[in-house]
């Protein structure tokens, strides 16, 4: 907290925080207001006498109705949910085992391997989708959820591994040694002691992986083509922008509904999430 005179608190705390909050929340507000605004207001020219971009007197749910009934939005939601959950599950499982091994087991080149895994995370997706497209075609997985369930882990596993590796390192190794003296073989010490203690780390890795797959765009755009296979980000942008016509109301309704699950997940686990990132176990 800022100490001293009241004006100092205003200048150095309240004003910057308010500016920050407004800047961050404005896009969401814009999304909401555009969703609720009737078309005749949305497309009113800015020079019109009754132009009021930040407010509406006639809110409507028409865009949401159109989105849910006239597009495949609910199918896209289901697709996205299924793909994100499956990709997250696979990545967490692999990340857990890899992270544990890299942080706890002594084997040659462990450090090098850890760094190598991190480097793969740094390869941009915009490059990686080219060879991956070839692989997807060879395995005949194109235009199916598997195309994404199996390619998302290419960037999720390195991410989960790295995050969990850091978290495991913060857990005192005596816990595990004590479990092993107590009569647990290494895998039991891992499952009964280390994993439960690492739950904040595991949750934050899971939330992050889920969000990344939920919002992923490039792979979904390239590997899926039929409308009923698409995910929310791709479905909304490809089906609601026809030629140069933007269906702004439906687009924003799609963006709004699409962000609800992620917001839901975050708000539930936010405390775990923070302690997972800062990583600490108190004895």
């Amino acid at each position: 907290m800022i100490e001293g005179a009241r004006w100092r608190r205003w200048v150095f705390f309240y004003v910057p925080v308010t500016a920050f909050v407004v800047a961050l929340l404005f896009p969401f507000y814009w999304m909401v207001i555009t969703t609720l605004r009737p078309d005749r207001e949305l497309y009113r020219p800015w020079s019109a006498a009754n132009y009021a971009p930040f407010w509406t007197a006639n809110p409507t749910l028409e865009h949401i109705r159109a989105l849910l009934t006239e597009t495949l939005f609910s199918t896209w939601m289901l697709n996205t949910m299924l793909i994100s959950l499956a990709a997250t599950a696979i990545s967490l499982f692999c990340g857990l085992l890899a992270g544990y091994a890299l942080s706890r087991l002594k084997f040659p080149y462990a450090g090098l391997l850890g760094t190598a895994i991190f480097i793969t995370y740094l390869v941009p997706q915009t490059l990686l989708f080219i060879p991956l497209a070839d692989i997807i075609r060879n395995f005949k997985l194109g235009d199916s959820p598997w195309a994404l369930i199996l390619t998302y882990p290419t960037f999720l596993i390195p991410f989960c591994t790295w995050l969990l590796m850091g978290y495991f390192k913060s857990i005192p190794k005596e816990l595990e040694e004590c479990a092993r003296i107590d009569g647990a073989p290494r895998w039991k010490a891992m499952v009964y002691i280390i994993f439960p203690v690492a739950i904040p780390g595991i949750l934050s890795a899971g939330i992050f992986a889920f969000t990344l797959s939920w919002n992923e765009f490039i792979y979904a755009l390239v590997f899926l083509s039929s409308p009923e296979q698409k995910t929310v980000p791709v479905g909304v942008t490809s089906e609601l922008v026809r030629g140069d016509v933007f269906y702004w109301g439906e687009l924003m309704a799609g963006a709004l509904l699409g962000s609800i699950p992620v917001a839901f997940v975050y708000s539930f686990f936010v405390e775990y999430y923070v302690s997972g990132i800062t990583g600490s176990v108190k004895g």
């Binding site: 005192p172 005596e174 040694e177 009569g183």
Partner: protein
């Protein structure tokens, strides 16, 4: 209950030789303390007994059975760690029951043993709590409880009292001693605190730089240190050392320096004779120095300047200087000594120690 034997035990980490040729026989029901400054190899030795560190050379046997290749879970030992290592997500009960569950004890037996251990340690009312709800001393008890429920052959303690505050440490030290009396389990205890070592150990092993310096019961280490390191490490305040030259005159030996000239008692003279004309180190404990009175043997005294007076109540510590040599003397609380005064101290002739300057071994 078991004997533990280490033969020619060695541990190498890449370039560092952490434990060098340790040979130790620990008898059944014995409480042995490994003590030394940090980095002396005591913890590494303990961890090798536990099976948490691989053994580079030599062998360890527990109850006549070589355990070099045995994983920790099969050695039938229990260990208490410095940071307690309580499982933070389990209750106290589950913490204590974990080892028994892993060994597939039935529920009733687990309940009985946990209760028994909780009674011994006075933590019955804490069983439902999580470790984070406990104070340091309570955590320490739970860690002990987790070790004793298993009825292991050997207890291993790795500086278990170091994280407690000074008062609690003294209290837990006494309880540990009582616990050992009661259970009689063979125990190996590692500490850097020589007071803990002296008070707890049936026998104490002093280590330095990976090597065992001396093994013996506490009073033996105190009264007959094998070398200068043990002499300086055991005892508080530490033993005083002064560099002296051995001189022979009319059949008696003298320990001389610029500021003192002490007659060597006949008991030591025989062994010291071959050092005649050479430099050695004289060692005197603070309590073996006292203020000279009339009628004291003049040949055992020397003049000093008092630099600091520390009044501890039961005794007074005088920090004194004899020329360039500084010493500490522990004298009766009735002594009226003042800073900057000069006074004369006498040495108890029965308790003079001499050390070889090259090998540091006791003469």
């Amino acid at each position: 209950m078991a004997r533990v034997a280490m033969r020619d035990l060695n541990k190498m980490y890449d370039e560092v030789h952490a434990v060098i040729d340790v040979n130790l026989e620990i008898r059944d029901q014995e409480f042995v303390v490994l003590v030394g400054p940090s980095g002396c190899g005591k913890t590494t030795t303990l961890r090798m007994v536990a099976g948490l560190e691989s053994i580079t050379g030599g062998q360890i046997s527990i109850d006549e059975k070589v355990v070099n290749a045995l994983p920790p879970m099969d050695r039938d030992i229990a260990m208490v760690f410095q940071n307690y290592a309580l499982y933070p997500h389990m209750t106290v009960y589950d913490n204590m029951a974990f080892g028994l569950k892993m060994r597939k004890f039935d529920k009733a037996e687990i309940g009985r043993r946990v209760k028994e251990a909780a009674d011994i340690l006075g933590i019955q009312e804490l069983l439902k709590r999580k470790p984070r709800q406990l104070s340091g001393g309570q955590r320490q008890r739970v860690a002990l409880g987790r070790a004793i429920v298993r009825h292991p052959q050997v207890f291993l303690f790795d500086e278990p009292l170091s994280n407690l505050d000074a008062k609690l440490r003294v209290q837990m030290r006494v309880e540990l001693k009582k616990l050992h009396e009661r259970l009689g389990t063979t125990a190996i205890y590692v500490t850097h605190d020589q007071v803990e070592a002296m008070t707890l150990g049936d026998r104490v092993v002093v280590m330095r730089d990976g090597r065992v310096q001396q093994v013996g019961d506490p009073m033996e280490l105190y009264n007959e240190p094998a070398n200068r390191f043990v002499a300086g490490f055991i005892g508080s305040p530490a033993m005083n050392f002064a560099s002296v030259r051995v001189a022979a005159e009319n059949g008696t030996l003298w320990a001389e320096s610029e500021d003192m000239r002490i007659k060597v008692p006949p008991r030591v003279a025989q062994r010291l004779a071959r050092y005649t004309g050479k430099e050695t180190t004289l060692g005197v404990r603070p309590e073996d120095l006292r203020i000279a009175r009339d009628g004291d043997d003049r040949d055992l005294g020397f003049d000093v300047a008092i630099e600091v007076v520390e009044r501890l109540g039961s005794e007074i510590l005088l920090d004194v200087a004899a020329g360039a040599t500084t010493m500490v003397a522990s004298v009766e609380p009735t002594v009226t000594a003042k800073v900057h005064e000069t006074t004369r101290l006498v040495i108890n002739p029965e308790r003079m120690h001499f050390f070889d300057n090259e090998t540091e071994a006791a003469i």
